[in-house]
């Protein structure tokens, strides 16, 4: 593990919106096929961090990023091919978004944008991704109904299927369980355990216990700073290195 090149390495990452800095120089790295849990109170910059990783921060006109992010050694902030980058980094947003297209087209959307036209290849990919997202059995008979007409939990799995449809090497999940029921949450957690065998996962979560269940290492982000980043057992032990971590995990915060 030690001599492996990290999948993601972030150095002194700073982000400001206008004149307000919200990420104050983050440095960390993520190993290949690791699940890194990111916990922290609302507004601490978790979503902003993910948006830097796939460069969707570009769409916020007053955002300014400095520092460096490398994925497989390649400089993310300076790459000119953001579309390929975004295919490499799958992103699942907090609220499920079924695009106003059929279930099939929702999943085939990204491959089509990437130029895949072959019908058989698309069929195979759609089925594989829906299976990976534990949704196939529920929708296989109605692939041509609208994705927006599925239930919330199904739409969130559809979102995950879409994030997998462009073969990402990294999967970022941003509080994916915020709008879905506990049963679906557990199903998706099982999905993540399977996916771990072939991709790196960044799991931003509002449920600290979710990080405890899934993450290899956990980062506690607070007000745009990394308070602590350690093996998950250490973070959740009775003596994390920082008292704020203990307070946050045990709900004593603020």
């Amino acid at each position: 593990m030690v001599n492996n090149q990290p999948k993601i390495s972030v150095e002194n990452l700073r982000l400001s919106y206008g004149h307000r800095e919200v990420l104050h120089g983050l440095s960390f790295s993520v190993a290949p096929k690791e699940i890194l849990g990111v916990i922290g109170p609302a507004q601490s910059g978790k979503t902003s961090l993910l948006r830097c990783l796939n460069r969707t921060i570009d769409f916020v006109s007053n955002a300014f990023v400095s520092g460096s992010i490398r994925i497989d050694g390649e400089d993310v902030l300076r790459t000119s091919d953001v579309h390929t980058l975004r295919r490499k980094v799958g992103m699942v947003s907090p609220l499920p978004v079924g695009l106003p297209l059929s279930v099939y087209d929702n999943v085939a959307f990204a491959p089509r944008c990437a130029g895949i036209k072959n019908r058989d290849e698309l069929d195979a990919r759609v089925e594989r991704c829906l299976r990976q997202a534990a949704l196939w059995d529920e929708v296989k008979d109605r692939l041509h109904t609208l994705g927006t007409k599925l239930s919330g939990g199904q739409q969130q799995r559809l979102t995950i299927a879409r994030a997998l449809s462009h073969d990402p090497e990294i999967l970022c999940l941003d509080e994916f369980s915020i709008a879905i029921d506990p049963v679906t949450t557990m199903r998706i957690e099982d999905v993540l355990k399977e996916l771990k065998s072939h991709m790196t996962i960044l799991l931003v979560t509002n449920l600290v216990q979710q990080a405890r269940r899934l993450a290899d290492r956990t980062m506690f982000l607070w007000n745009g700073e990394i308070v602590e980043l350690d093996r998950t057992e250490a973070i959740f032990s009775n003596q994390p290195r920082d008292k704020r971590t203990y307070d946050y995990i045990h709900g004593l915060f603020g």
Partner: protein, 298 residues
């Protein structure tokens, strides 16, 4: 008995009175709006309908516009509207796409947006003068259907931009973000998600401009419309772009104010045709919208 939960207390009675008063006042306002409209239509129909026939629509005016039909004016209006919108709709829609989807939120964009809103409120006579200066004189097109249509196009452009922007903004931001997240470019996102789902709003905005364009007199009076012109009946290609033309709105103005001894029903018949055409187009827009709405996707 006295403790019935449904006793009518003074408070309840007062609320009922207010409710009744509100109904009456608000209903009266609706009546005040609907009745004049119905009255206008009824009046026009009563006065003008006897004159309307296929022959009236398809023959040129004769005898100093006192007899004959309105063919050259009707066809002129169709030319002006179609050409004006053929120019302003694509430009306006693409401008709106740029402003809403591509433009960064900076001072320049804000100035442009402000300009669009304000241009939409400029009186048509001002557009008329601009058209005269820019197209007829400066560009040397001369008074013609082309110059008049371009003037009308300039007049409708800001409204089309504004209504299209509104339709685009009604597509939730989360759809765009979902597309960007999977590596779709801006254009792929616009083409496959944003435009298909704002089409009904965009079309409605454009079609509403048909009636506005058909009804305007000022912008065409200086730039290409004439009091009288005879054209070949029975063909839709009777005008060419460099011709001057008659138009319904202007023809109505002419027969009411410039022609002495015009038969009394004539202006009403012209107004009825204009109104009928406008209502037909608006009805078409409602049908298109409800067809697209019934396929609403979220």
């Amino acid at each position: 008995m006295s403790a019935s939960p449904f006793t009518v207390t003074p408070l309840v009675r007062r609320n009922m009175r207010r409710e009744l008063a509100a109904r009456i006042v608000l209903g009266a306002m609706v009546a005040a709006m609907v009745l004049p409209l119905l009255a206008i239509i009824a009046y026009l129909v009563a006065k003008g309908a006897p004159l309307i026939s296929l022959k009236f629509l398809t023959t040129n005016p004769t005898h100093g516009m006192r007899e004959g039909g309105i063919w050259s004016a009707l066809l002129g209006t169709i030319y002006l509207v179609v050409i004006a919108l053929a120019v302003s709709a694509p430009i306006g829609v693409l401008c709106a796409v740029y402003l809403n989807e591509y433009a960064k939120d900076n001072w320049l964009t804000r100035i442009i947006n402000l300009a669009v809103v304000n241009l939409a409120g400029v009186p048509s006579i001002v557009h008329a003068l601009f058209g005269l200066g820019a197209f007829v004189l400066f560009a040397g097109i001369g008074r013609s259907i082309l110059a008049a249509s371009l003037t009308l196009a300039i007049m409708t452009l800001p409204v089309i931009i504004a209504s299209t922007k509104e339709a685009l903004a009604a597509v939730p931001m989360s759809f765009r973000e979902a597309c960007w997240n999977v590596g779709a470019s801006r254009w792929q996102t616009i083409w496959s998600i944003v435009l298909p789902n704002s089409l009904s709003g965009i079309l409605t905005g454009v079609i509403l401009q048909v009636s506005r364009t058909a009804g305007e007199t000022a912008p065409i009076m200086f730039t290409g419309a004439v009091f009288f012109k005879k054209i070949q009946p029975g063909t839709l290609f009777a005008y060419s772009l460099t011709d001057q033309c008659m138009a319904l709105s202007m023809h109505l103005y002419t027969v009411t104010t410039q022609v002495t001894n015009a038969p009394e029903p004539l202006p009403y018949a012209i107004a009825l045709v204009l109104l009928g055409a406008v209502l037909a187009v608006n009805a078409a827009s409602i049908i298109v919208r409800s067809l697209l709405r019934s396929r609403k996707k979220w």
